[in-house]
C-alpha cells in the first residue's frame, strides 16, 4: 500500500503507475504533476508523492495555475515573480505589451498608469479592441489581463504623471517601467525617479519607430539604476512612425529586462 497526496487529499493505493491510478479513481485529467514536475502518465507511484491530476481543457483555479507555473519554471523562480511589483508608466504600444507579458509570465502585482482613453488610431499597435474605444486605457487593459487567467493583481491610476505625483505614486515600487511617448516626459520621469526614489530601478524605451533591422534594438545599462531599450535614434514623431512589430520587440525586450531584474540578474 502506498500513501500519496492526490489533489491536496491523502490517498492510499495499491496501483503501481499513474495510468492505473487515473483509471481507478476515474479522475477526469489530462495533465499529471508529480512532486512539482509535469510527468508522463506511465510514471511509477512512490509513497509520499505529491500529485496533481489536472484537466487543462477547462479554466483552472488559482492554486492549480500556481502549481502549473511552479512545474514550468521551478518554485524558487515563481516565488520571486509572484513577490514582485512593477509600475508601468504609459499604456500605449510599449506599456500595453509589457503589462501583458509580465502578467503572463507570473509577476504578482502591476500598477498600470495612463491618463488617456483608447482611440481608433491606437489599434494599429496597442493591445486594445474596437470595443475599447473611449474607455480609459487603464480600465481596458486591466479588464483584458483579468481575462487571461494569470496570477497577477492589478492596480490602476488614471493620471498624467508630473514632477509632483511621481514620488507618491511610485514610492512602493522598486521596478519602474518607463513606457511614455514624449521624450520630455520620458526624461522627466527618469530624472524624478532616479533623484527621489533611491531604491528604484528604471527600465525605459527609446528609439523603436520604423522598420530598420530588429537587431538594432538592444538593452543597455546606461546608469547604475537605468536600463534603456531601443535603437536610441528612431523617433516616433517624424519619418515612418511607430510600427507594431518593432515597437512590440522593444516592449518585449523591456519586459525581458524587468523579468531578469526580478530574478536578480542585473546584467543585460
Amino acid at each position: 500500500m502506498k500513501t500519496l497526496t492526490l489533489n491536496n487529499t491523502l490517498y492510499q493505493t495499491l496501483t503501481t503507475t499513474y495510468d492505473q491510478l487515473k483509471q481507478t479513481t476515474q479522475i477526469n485529467a489530462n495533465h499529471l504533476i508529480v512532486n512539482g514536475h509535469s510527468q508522463p502518465w506511465h510514471t511509477d507511484i512512490h509513497s509520499g508523492d505529491e500529485v496533481l491530476m489536472i484537466d487543462n481543457r477547462a479554466p483552472l483555479s488559482p492554486p492549480i495555475r500556481r502549481a502549473l507555473y511552479n512545474a514550468r519554471y521551478g518554485k524558487d523562480i515563481m516565488d520571486k515573480l509572484q513577490n514582485a511589483s512593477v509600475a508601468i508608466c504609459g499604456l500605449g504600444g510599449l506599456g500595453s505589451v509589457i503589462a501583458i507579458a509580465l502578467a503572463r509570465v507570473g509577476v504578482g502585482h502591476l500598477l498600470l498608469i495612463d491618463y488617456d482613453t483608447v482611440d481608433a488610431t491606437n489599434l494599429a499597435r496597442q493591445q486594445y479592441y474596437l470595443s475599447d474605444i473611449g474607455r480609459y486605457k487603464t480600465d481596458a487593459l486591466k479588464a483584458h489581463i483579468e481575462q487571461m487567467g494569470t496570477l497577477t493583481t492589478i492596480d490602476t491610476s488614471t493620471t498624467k504623471l508630473n514632477e509632483e505625483n511621481i514620488v507618491p505614486l511610485l514610492a512602493n515600487y522598486s521596478i519602474i517601467c518607463e513606457a511614455l511617448d514624449a521624450p520630455e516626459m520620458k526624461a522627466m520621469l527618469v530624472n524624478t525617479a532616479l533623484t527621489h526614489l533611491p531604491d528604484a530601478v528604471v527600465v525605459s524605451g527609446s528609439g523603436m519607430a520604423g522598420y530598420a533591422s530588429g537587431n538594432l534594438i538592444q538593452c543597455k545599462q546606461l546608469l547604475s539604476r537605468l536600463y534603456i531599450v531601443g535603437d536610441g535614434t528612431s523617433e516616433g514623431e517624424d519619418g515612418i512612425g511607430l510600427m507594431a512589430p518593432r515597437v512590440g520587440l522593444c516592449a518585449h525586450a523591456q519586459a525581458t529586462q524587468i523579468m531578469r531584474l526580478i530574478l536578480n540578474e542585473k546584467t543585460v
Binding site: D181, P183, K186, A187, V190, L222, I228, E235, G236
Partner: protein, 64 residues
C-alpha cells in the same frame, strides 16, 4: 573630462548647460549624471564642469 566614456579637454570653464547645448542635446530630453549623481535640468545652468569630471548623458527619442 570624460563624457559618455570619451575624453574631452575643456579649454575654458563651462557650465553643464553650455556643454550640452554645444554638443547638440535638447536639455528637456536628457538625463545627466555627473560623478555618479543625477543633475536635473533646473541645475544645468549653475553646474560648472572641470576636467576632473565624469559625466554620462542619456538622451531620449519619442515613441512608446
Amino acid at each position: 573630462m570624460k563624457a559618455n566614456g570619451k575624453e574631452i579637454l575643456l579649454s575654458t570653464p563651462t557650465t553643464l548647460k553650455a556643454f550640452l547645448t554645444e554638443q547638440g542635446y535638447n536639455i528637456e530630453r536628457v538625463v545627466v549624471e555627473k560623478n555618479g549623481a543625477i543633475v536635473t535640468n533646473e541645475h544645468f545652468e549653475h553646474t560648472q564642469l572641470s576636467n576632473d569630471d565624469r559625466i554620462e548623458i542619456v538622451h531620449f527619442v519619442g515613441g512608446g
